[in-house]
């Protein structure tokens, strides 16, 4: 892949929390990616959003900083680093809004060939896991790193 990413990232030493600064037309916006263990064995939930003034992750905020692709690419890069650190872990994620889910679906679809080199990607439809394809209208996603 050849997407620009943010290259300076603060991290918790167990790789469960990452912060980086988005730099764009509205200035500096702090972003956070966080992984939390779910009730299902080996599955971790990915939360992503802006960091608010109380140092909390706000996954509903829309910063509109003009660097969407770079931010998304940075999140993908963090997921790659995370799954390299924890190879057997599955990552569950979903958009916090319909438009954001659509964005994730589109981003995965546009880059499916390359992402599939690195990950097994599934969508959830009617509570069933379906291998992701470009036309899959999934609202939730599960991915796991592939053996290389």
């Amino acid at each position: 892949m050849k997407y620009e990413v943010y290259e300076n990232i603060a991290v918790q030493d167990d790789f469960n929390r990452f912060d980086f600064i988005s730099i764009g037309k509205k200035g500096l916006v702090r972003k956070r990616v966080s992984f939390s263990k779910t009730e299902m064995d080996k599955v971790y939930n990915l939360a992503f959003g802006d960091v608010d003034e109380k140092d909390e992750l706000d996954d509903l905020s829309v910063s509109d900083n003009g660097d969407r692709n770079k931010v998304l690419a940075t999140v993908v890069n963090i997921v790659v680093s995370y799954t390299n650190r924890y190879p057997g872990r599955w990552i569950f994620f979903q958009g916090s809004s319909e438009s954001r889910t659509r964005l994730y679906r589109m981003a995965i679809g546009l880059n499916l060939e390359e992402l599939s080199i690195k990950f097994n990607i599934y969508g959830l439809i009617d509570n069933e896991l379906i291998p992701f394809s470009k036309n899959l209208n999934a609202s939730m996603f599960l991915i796991v790193g592939k053996k290389v």
């Binding site: 892949m1 050849k2 997407y3 620009e4 990413v5 290259e7 300076n8 990232i9 603060a10 991290v11 918790q12 030493d13 167990d14 469960n16 929390r17 990452f18 912060d19 956070r32 966080s34 939390s36 779910t38 009730e39 299902m40 080996k42 599955v43 939930n45 939360a47 959003g49 909390e56 992750l57 996954d59 690419a73 940075t74 993908v76 890069n77 790659v80 680093s81 390299n84 190879p87 057997g88 599955w90 569950f92 979903q94 916090s96 690195k118 097994n120 599934y122 959830l124 509570n127 069933e128 896991l129 939730m140 599960l142 796991v144 790193g145 592939k146 053996k147 290389v148």
Partner: protein
């Protein structure tokens, strides 16, 4: 001294620097976006199929 991890990004091909944050380390165990985690758990509970037995690393 700050612990720094440098990796070549699979996404960009450039060097990415992860700097371990002592502030973050103090937050270990804290759940970010607990509502989202609850929604994830709810969805995972309804999952009809087990996770595929993929060959992971």
């Amino acid at each position: 001294m700050k612990k720094v991890i440098k990796e070549i990004s699979w996404v960009s091909g450039t060097e990415v620097t992860y700097t371990v944050s002592e502030e973050f380390n103090k937050l270990k165990g804290k759940i970010d976006a607990p509502g989202k985690l609850a929604k994830a758990n709810e969805s995972l509970r309804k999952l009809k199929t087990p996770l595929p037995d993929t060959k992971t690393k």
